[in-house]
């Protein structure tokens, strides 16, 4: 036995406790705890890194893309520099700017970036695409004074707004995409004004997306509540069988369910056929159920309903039936006992289900794209449109960022109220 071991067992009253090897107990414990934390962290680290690189970083990249604006600054450097001095927006800029513009456009045409440049400016001010490409074609042959030559060529060059657009897009970081995403733009004096009425589409679509998601959520709650209640009061051998009817759609491919809704909802489809057969509709009075918002809401409600029923069920399962019985024996009628005793107890399930359905509904893409048509478009469809068709990636990123922000706020609320690890799957 060494001295240290002995003092470890019976420490003198005035010295701190130590371990067998003579270190103070406090620091040894802290060290052991730290080691455990590090070990736990090491287990999580691979997935954290993977999610960081393959998921969080790409999303950060998309967020950056919504403010990133290198094109004009890179390919029209002379014009952007010359426009620095242009302050009086009621006057046209001077000859130096026009000369720089001609030089830039000639060069852009030579290295074939002019198409992208024209497209970018065109997003901002309609009609600039042809102005830029046409001017680019002639730029190399123009003679000074360039101001008169360009104005002769195209009257857009006599409009200060054209130059205001170029100057604004000359900044490498820009908020124009966000303004565009909320139907706003800068005017010639760099004041924020509303877009012309025909181009105001996004705010109304955000409202439509919210509105459709709210309807889907409420519909899921109204339909899901009685079913979850029934499942929670039935004996297990019956409720297990009925649960299959909830879980089977949950496990079936989204595209299968969307396909079957197309089959059901078509004008020549089964729902209309049945209605005609019963005699509610005449054969030529078939109703349009597909390619509009109504069809999308119907299909989305069916697709998201299991996400409402499952959390409701798991909460209802924990409410003892004796609560309602106690209320009734104290003189409450069924109605009163249900609303004052049972329903408040189900609120955690209602909150969890509604938030989950709303979060999933607000970002829905596939179903609105296939069933929605023009009318039932949601904001995701616009994002996809700008990603794939118009190739206005900046605007797609700005719309996506706004949507993501909304979803993250809801996710945060969900995490506070419900706790993400209590999410029930199947």
């Amino acid at each position: 036995m060494t001295d240290a071991a002995i003092t470890g067992v019976v420490p003198p009253a005035n010295e701190p406790l130590t371990t067998a090897d003579g270190r103070p107990l406090k620091s040894a414990l802290a060290r052991a705890e730290r080691m455990r934390r590090v070990k736990a962290m090491l287990l999580v680290l691979p997935l954290l890194l993977f999610i960081g690189v393959s998921f969080l970083f790409p999303i950060a990249l998309m967020l950056f893309r919504s403010v990133d604006n290198p094109l004009v600054a890179d390919h029209m450097p002379r014009t952007v520099a010359a426009l620095e001095a242009w302050d009086d927006r009621s006057e046209l800029p001077d000859e130096a700017v026009y000369a720089a513009l001609v030089a830039d456009l000639a060069e852009a045409r030579e290295d074939r970036t002019i198409g992208r440049l024209a497209t970018r400016l065109n997003y901002e001010t309609g009609g600039l695409r042809s102005t830029i490409t046409r001017t680019g074609r002639r730029a190399a042959r123009l003679e000074p004074p360039f101001k008169e030559a360009l104005i002769d060529l195209n009257e857009d060059w006599a409009n200060p707004e054209t130059f205001a657009t170029i100057k604004r897009l000359g900044n490498r970081l820009t908020d124009v995409q966000y303004l565009a995403a909320v139907d706003r733009r800068y005017d010639v004096n760099d004041n924020i004004v509303a877009q012309p009425e025909v181009r105001q589409i996004y705010v109304s679509n955000f409202i439509q997306t919210l509105w459709m998601s709210i309807i889907v959520t409420v519909a899921c709650l109204v339909l899901g509540y009685p079913v979850a209640y029934l499942l929670s009061i039935l004996p297990l051998r019956y409720s297990n069988v009925l649960m299959i009817l909830v879980l089977l759609p949950f496990w079936t491919s989204l595209l299968v369910r969307t396909t079957s809704w197309i089959v059901l909802l078509q004008t020549e489809g089964i729902i209309n056929d049945v209605l005609v057969w019963i005699g509610i509709l005449s054969d030529d009075g078939r109703i349009q159920l597909i390619f509009n918002a109504e069809g999308t809401v119907i299909a989305m409600t069916q697709i998201l309903l299991p996400f409402m029923i499952l959390p409701l069920y798991s909460v209802m399962k924990t409410i003892p039936p004796s609560y309602t019985r106690a209320a009734m024996s104290l003189g409450a009628n069924r109605y009163y006992a249900f609303w004052r005793v049972y329903a408040p107890n189900t609120l955690p399930g209602v909150g969890a289900g509604c938030l989950l359905v709303f979060i999933l509904a607000i970002g829905y893409y596939i179903t609105p794209a296939l069933v929605g048509g023009q009318d039932g478009m949601m904001i995701s469809n616009f994002i996809a449109y700008h990603m794939q068709r118009s190739l206005n990636w900046g605007l797609a990123a700005a719309l996506g960022t706004i949507l993501l922000l909304g979803v993250l706020i809801l996710y945060w609320v969900y995490n506070k109220l419900v706790g993400i690890e209590r999410l029930k799957l199947g």
Partner: protein, 284 residues
């Protein structure tokens, strides 16, 4: 609970039967769209509705031609292979990464637990279109668009939250003294993992893996954005079919997929029962 007491008032009776009718209606609403598609896939005519001959159950009205069409077309066969390949690879990756992370997250000493959990679950919550757009920008820069690897990695990220959730759920109430006991008996950490931890969490791991598999097998948005023609998957092919040349072959595929999900559901259900038996949780 469903029986009415003999003293129920007429109003209560009405309300009781209305309640049952409402529930039956909702169940019909949930399941009818899946049921309807099955007989239609045996239609001998290229329609999406029941023909009169079908309703009168004439033999000629039914055929297997859409299944034959599905089976004989190379695009469909290739897309099955692609879907399976991508789904299996991403499931293996997601299950491995997710299980290990869940083990870490369930340790009592895990720092910043809630925050990290929130990050790891986020791929499930963020709208797919945003994920797809972000991944598209990222892959375009590093040259992963149009590759199998790119899609597999993206699907792995989408599948891990399910594994983390299911495995963490099985680890609730896990008795950590069992691993310590195994270690005291001389087992090294790998052995402890495979001999003690793994058998206990296996049901959670498998159901997480199934979720990850289905997520990848059913995923179409990321595929639409980053895949080339070479990586056509079944959902991608169905999407194209619905948008472009709609033919009842899609109904045949849909029917096969429904059969597939019935098989999956059965597996999950059996696993759940086994897990409850193992952990001594009596179904309440």
């Amino acid at each position: 609970m469903l029986k009415l007491p003999s003293y129920a008032s007429p109003l209560e009776r009405v309300w009781h039967y209305a309640f049952i009718a409402i529930c039956a209606g909702v169940f019909l609403f949930l399941i009818a769209p899946l049921i309807v598609i099955i007989p239609l896939s045996f239609n001998s005519l290229p329609y999406f509705t029941f023909t009169e001959e079908m309703l009168s159950l004439e033999k000629e009205a039914f055929s297997l031609r859409w299944y034959e069409d599905f089976w004989s077309r190379d695009v469909w066969r290739q897309s099955i292979l692609n879907s399976l390949f991508i789904a299996v690879c991403s499931t293996v990756l997601a299950t491995a990464l997710g299980t290990i992370a869940a083990l870490g997250l369930s340790r009592p000493h895990m720092p910043f637990r809630a925050f990290i959990m929130g990050l790891l679950i986020s791929p499930m919550i963020v709208p797919l279109i945003i994920t797809a757009a972000g991944i598209f920008f990222f892959y375009a820069q590093i040259g992963l668009t149009g590759t199998y690897l790119g899609i597999i990695l993206a699907h792995t990220a989408l599948g891990t939250p399910f594994v983390v959730i299911t495995v963490t759920a099985t680890l609730i109430g896990f008795d950590h003294s069992m691993t310590r006991a195994a270690a005291m008996c001389g087992a090294d950490p790998t052995r402890v993992f495979f001999k003690v931890i793994m058998p206990l969490i296996l049901p959670g791991v498998i159901s997480g893996a199934l979720f990850a598999f289905v997520t990848s097998f059913d995923e179409v948005v990321v595929v639409l954005f980053v895949a080339s023609v070479e990586q056509q998957t079944i959902p991608r092919q169905m999407w194209a079919g619905i948008r472009e040349q709609i033919s009842p072959t899609i109904l045949a595929v849909a029917t096969l997929l429904i059969v597939f999900s019935v098989a999956l559901l059965t597996t999950i259900e059996l696993l759940r029962r086994r897990s409850e038996r193992l952990r001594g949780v009596t179904p309440a």
